[in-house]
């Protein structure tokens, strides 16, 4: 075994040649396809910009697979220096205090210039501790927006709805004009409960949505959320809403023009542009005007970069300078414009605006505006819930029981809260 390692090492050294003196930094990520190529490009640009460090991006499959393999690697002491983790994995990463190297600490320890003020608080807020320190570096963040079919809208003589009340009247007119369904939604738990709560400044869970402590309890069975789900259930029956699956499967209803509106991640822009055979528009996620007058920001999805413990000082120097490179306005603006993910710094947003990108691609700035129009509150900063994957599954199951008419909104949300709390207690116990 050792002989084999030696042979492959020699072969590797012979092959890499020029990179011999550079410190290698491994970066595991979950970006496939075009985004994956862009990731390689970013790493290559960093490697070309200096010769002390060599960042090596490794594609590890989807988010779940990337996280699971990083954890398995950590247990076997073979972990990468940087790993990309999706937002629902945040609580697990945070709780693993001995395994992660908080970004703010890394930057301070390596004396890397780093000012948290430069970053969009609505984005970084999801990844900070309760004192506001950034624990991981946001990389690809998105937020749900409303896509609508401009052609069907013109035919029905309606404009994009701002409130849920308007969603109903607009949909009714669309149905009258012969459209089969008003709207559909992807990621129902994220869009219709997590973001619905944030947008109306309502708690999704106690303890500041879990930011203030692990002894948090779910709170999304409040009257506003119940009323919203009840309304959606009624709409599912009369055709205003049509359920299309747990992930992004619902997109096919929008592409086939069965539904005139789709609530989906802002990062889905490229997909909509490629698949929609019609003129489409982007608008902010609706809010209920009876609940709130000025809506709050929405919360983000996507992933951030976590630095893992157990590497050498030299490697951490490299990691820190790479994270600074990633935050540079030109690098960020390029990534934002290419992928449709949110820019993480104000400078990157300003640069993109200056370059005229938003004028050339109308709708791409809706998500940024929706995120930054107001200061985030403790209810709209994000969620920090353990066993978040299981909780989302529970919510999916209970909501599906509502759509099929088996349960009322109140019964289903009460059950989801009760079952979700069991998961939270389990996480608390496992991470004491």
């Amino acid at each position: 075994m050792r002989k084999l390692a030696l042979v492959s090492m020699v072969a590797g050294l012979a092959a890499s040649g020029s990179a011999l003196s550079a410190t290698q930094i491994e970066w595991w990520h979950a970006m496939g396809g075009a985004n994956g190529e862009k990731v390689d490009e970013i790493a290559a640009a960093f490697n070309a910009s200096q010769d002390a460090y060599q960042v090596k991006p490794v594609f590890k499959g989807n988010y779940t697979e990337t996280m699971t393999s990083a954890i398995a690697a950590f247990r076997a002491k073979q972990q990468p220096a940087i790993v990309q983790v999706f937002e629902v994995g945040t609580a697990s990463m945070m709780a693993a205090e001995g395994a992660v190297y908080p970004v703010y600490k890394l930057m301070a320890d390596t004396k890397q210039p780093f000012n948290q003020e430069d970053y969009l608080s609505a984005v970084t807020g999801y990844y900070t501790d309760k004192d506001g320190n950034m624990l991981s570096m946001p990389f690809n963040s998105s937020t749900p927006v409303l896509y609508y079919n401009k052609e069907l809208f013109a035919k029905a003589g309606v404009t994009a709805p701002k409130t849920w009340q308007e969603v109903e009247t607009v949909s009714q007119k669309l149905l009258d004009s012969g459209v089969k369904c008003g709207f559909t939604t992807s990621w129902q738990s994220w869009v219709q409960l997590e973001n619905f709560s944030a947008r109306h400044n309502l708690p999704f869970a106690s303890q500041a949505n879990g930011f203030a402590g692990m002894d948090t309890e779910l709170k999304f069975n409040g009257p506003a959320q119940v009323a919203h789900i009840e309304k959606m259930s009624e709409w599912q029956q009369n055709g205003i809403f049509s359920y299309g699956g747990r992930r992004s499967d619902s997109a096919s209803k929008f592409y086939s023009q069965e539904c005139a509106m789709h609530m989906e991640s802002s990062a889905g822009y490229a997909g909509v542009k490629r698949n929609a055979q019609f003129d489409f528009g982007v608008s902010e996620l609706p809010y209920d005007s009876n609940v709130i007058k000025t809506p709050q920001n929405t919360i983000i999805g996507g992933a951030s970069l976590w630095v893992l413990q157990g590497k050498s000082q030299a490697e951490y120097q490299g990691v820190a300078s790479f994270l600074s490179f990633l935050s540079r306005a030109d690098v960020q603006a390029d990534w934002h414009q290419f992928s449709g993910y949110l820019p993480i710094t104000t400078a990157a947003y300003e640069l993109t605006k200056q370059q005229g990108f938003y004028d050339a691609n109308p709708g791409t700035d809706v998500a940024v505006k929706q995120m930054t129009s107001v200061a985030p509150t403790e209810n709209s900063k994000g969620l920090r819930l353990g066993n978040a994957v299981q909780i989302r599954d529970i919510i999916n199951e209970e909501l599906e029981a509502v759509w099929s008419g088996k349960k009322t909104a109140q019964v289903a949300l009460d059950a989801a809260v009760e079952r979700g709390n069991v998961q939270l207690r389990k996480f608390e116990k496992a991470n004491q």
Partner: protein
């Protein structure tokens, strides 16, 4: 007459490689799963707490777990029955073909080469409520297909996806079994006036019983353990819990949710169930098999 080997250790030596493989790839991981089932641990393995039977108690007091047990039974028996019935029917048909038999037989074996997750995606596209050709055809004849809301339809979809590729495997064994049945028996029966149906149920089916029995065991094990890829690619266990089988729950809680303790406890339960089923099959059903 008794035969004995003069060499005392040779048989053990010859068995050793197989025993080693079993120990390393089965006994050791299974032992780890059993151990893990009594602990609650964070994902990174930084802290670990012995919780006794807590993981099991939690499972058996949760109505959702019993629901998934029921779902698993419906799913597994449907897959096994459908897979065997369709494969047998196809094998009987292919066995009769004289011209171009190789072509039919080869084509029927092809689906086995498709990976389970990919098979799931193929069926998922065919049945997509707004774009899938099958779903649109069903809509056209007045059957409203939407497996995102309708649990029974979702179950039908995963059963079809899981069965489809297994049919090829079963077909291969049935065809071989059919070809091993002596023609003379069938001819004798025909001369005595037995019709095709009588010949099938009276001669062919009993003579095929060793094959059928073997396939029943293999298919049930397949449906129990190997099908989470199909479910993940098509329904992710929904709508509600209508397609959350036990093995999908093990995969989802362990690898997606990172709750290792509960996932391990569930796999221990699954191991016990399959062991029980195998014992039952060999004790009761095998008696009806004619070798």
């Amino acid at each position: 007459m008794s035969v004995y080997f003069p060499q005392k250790y040779l048989p053990y030596l010859l068995l050793l490689p197989q025993l080693l493989v079993t120990a390393v790839f089965f006994l050791w991981p299974a032992g780890q799963a059993v151990e893990q089932a009594f602990y609650q641990e964070d994902a990174f393995g930084l802290s670990r707490e012995f919780v006794g039977l807590d993981n099991f108690i939690e499972l058996f007091t949760s109505p959702e777990y019993f629901a998934s047990l029921l779902t698993t039974m419906v799913f597994s028996f449907s897959v096994a029955f459908l897979g065997l019935a369709v494969a047998l029917w196809l094998a009987v048909m292919a066995d009769r073909v004289i011209r171009g038999a190789m072509v039919y037989q080869t084509l029927l074996i092809w689906p086995y080469a498709v990976a389970p997750a990919l098979a799931g995606v193929l069926w998922w596209i065919l049945f997509d409520p707004s774009m899938g050709p099958v779903a649109l055809a069903l809509d056209a004849i007045g059957l409203d297909w939407n497996h995102f809301v309708n649990g029974d339809q979702a179950m039908i979809l995963v059963v079809i996806s899981a069965t489809w590729k297994q049919i090829s495997y079963n077909f291969l064994f049935f065809l071989a079994g059919l070809q091993a049945i002596p023609r003379s028996l069938l001819e004798a029966a025909a001369i005595d006036g037995a019709g095709p149906s009588k010949r099938f149920w009276g001669i062919v089916f009993p003579l095929l019983s060793p094959t059928t029995f073997f396939l029943l065991v293999v298919n049930l094990v397949y449906a129990f353990f190997d099908t989470f890829g199909v479910i993940d690619a098509t329904t992710q266990g929904g709508p509600g819990q209508s397609t959350t089988t036990m093995v999908y729950k093990v995969f989802n809680d362990g690898f997606v949710g990172l709750d290792l303790g509960s996932s391990a406890a569930q796999s221990v339960v699954l191991m016990v169930i399959v062991a029980l089923m195998t014992v039952i099959q060999f004790r009761y059903i095998e008696r009806k098999v004619q070798y």
